[in-house]
């Protein structure tokens, strides 16, 4: 695509997709988010561009969180999560860096900031990084995380969820999101998931169970696509 022909603005977010903030009970959304409105700027080349071969800077291929080494296996329900990274035109985004981090089966993160009294699993670190292929596909072997209570005054339980960060070819399409599991009764009680106003948009944050017969024994399979904002064609790698 000729960059000179690109519109000077990226289409606004469709209504109902962006979380409504601040979120009652989530104090940091009151103290960290700007009081002033964001200034909407035209999307020039500085916003439409981004590093194309970030896989060299951020080594990828670390896509098995469940098996940290020979003969070792994390505790929990073994799952495979996979899908495609797409742009708003449905075109695959190849060469995107997909980062996954999550709690262990007991709902505890291996992070200094998680001081909850729940067990750590010596065989589970809980983060991985993968590069999308030519069809935009990513995939991770991992375990289903446990739910955990949020350490705030008016506590609530986060449902089992995976954190995703996607670095695509344009800064404006930078995505940080979370993925949920189908059928969990905590989903409808989660302040963060429920901050997304549109029910269909919330449903798109819930992974789809792949019929186990299609996956085979050993792992429960889930499918989850991630759509980056923007419709610029995925640029060719140099």
């Amino acid at each position: 695509m000729d960059p000179q022909q690109l519109p000077d603005r990226i289409e606004a977010w469709p209504p109902g997709i962006e979380p409504a903030v601040p979120i009652p009970g989530y104090a940091n959304t009151y103290t960290h988010w700007p009081a002033q409105p964001l200034l909407r700027r035209p999307a020039g080349r500085t916003e439409r561009s981004g590093p194309l071969d970030l896989g060299r800077k951020l080594p990828c291929g670390d896509d098995n969180l469940a098996v940290p080494g020979p003969g070792r296996l994390a505790m929990g329900q073994l799952i495979h999560i996979g899908g495609r990274v797409l742009d708003e035109d449905g075109r695959p985004v190849r060469g995107a860096v997909v980062e996954l981090w999550q709690a262990n089966a007991a709902g505890r993160y291996r992070h200094a900031a998680d001081t909850r009294d729940a067990p750590l699993d010596p065989d589970f670190i809980g983060n991985g990084r993968a590069l999308t292929d030519a069809e935009g596909r990513y995939g991770f072997f991992t375990i289903k995380p446990g739910a955990y209570p949020v350490p705030v005054a008016e506590t609530w339980w986060r449902p089992p969820h995976l954190h995703f960060s996607v670095l695509g070819p344009a800064s404006a399409g930078r995505l940080v999101t979370q993925m949920y599991f189908p059928g969990d009764p905590l989903n409808a009680l989660d302040r963060i998931l429920m901050s997304v106003p549109d029910a269909a948009a919330r449903d798109r944050l819930v992974a789809r169970l792949i019929p186990p017969a299609e996956v085979g024994p050993g792992w429960l399979g889930f499918a989850h696509d991630l759509v980056l904002r923007g419709r610029s064609a995925t640029p060719a790698l140099p």
Binding site: P14, A35, A43, S49, R56, A103, A172, L228
Partner: protein, 202 residues
């Protein structure tokens, strides 16, 4: 072609893994951590603090920087001159904030460039992610070396005049470890409250 709705954004939360950071990730001059830094420009340090309401430090925030090379080119097809861009310069880096909210990038002083009828002043784009931020926050830092270009920059021009200086980094003293004579620039990022940093959305 059907339009797919973009995936909703969420916060990174408080548990972004430290294991995702390696030494050198905050050095924009290197296309890989092991690669030698590009020398096609002036090496500078860009550092500062991320502060939340009441000037409290914002700890465990993740910052990502993105900028043009020293000649004002992006190695990306959105730039018509992308094939001329410095092949040894990545222009992207990632840092996290310490207990004082502090962050640091090492980079080359970016170049300005013409775009359409405008001239973009040299700048570094910063994306901030933190617990409580339900989407990444974007801002752009400019340099005091270029007062005329800054005054003509179309994005800085969107900022109310009294707030523009908040997006212009200040020169301060370089720490030990930076090459002799290297310059250091400082910029405070106030997420909310008095002298709040202007943030942008596309």
């Amino acid at each position: 072609m059907t339009r797919l709705p973009p995936t909703s954004q969420h916060t990174i939360g408080p548990f972004f893994p430290r294991g995702f950071f390696r030494p050198g990730d905050n050095d924009l001059r290197r296309i890989a951590t092991e690669a030698p830094p590009s020398t096609a420009g002036e090496t500078i340090r860009l550092h500062g603090r991320v502060l939340r309401e009441n000037g409290q430090p914002c700890v465990n925030a993740v910052l990502e920087a993105w900028q043009a090379d020293a000649a004002g080119r992006f190695r990306h097809p959105a730039d018509p001159d992308w094939r001329l861009a410095d092949p040894d310069f990545l222009g992207w880096g990632r840092a996290w904030t310490d207990a004082a909210g502090g962050f640091e990038f090492i980079t080359l002083l970016p170049g300005g460039y013409a775009e359409g009828n405008h001239h973009r002043a040299p700048h570094v784009n910063l994306t901030i992610m933190a617990s409580g931020l339900m989407r990444p926050l974007a801002t752009t830092v400019f340099f005091p070396d270029f007062p005329e270009a800054n005054a003509a920059d179309p994005v800085l021009g969107l900022v109310p005049p009294e707030a523009r200086a908040r997006l212009v980094a200040m020169v301060d003293s370089a720490p030990d470890g930076l090459a002799e004579g290297s310059r250091s620039f400082r910029c405070e990022l106030r997420l909310r409250g008095g002298a709040e940093t202007p943030f942008f959305a596309e």
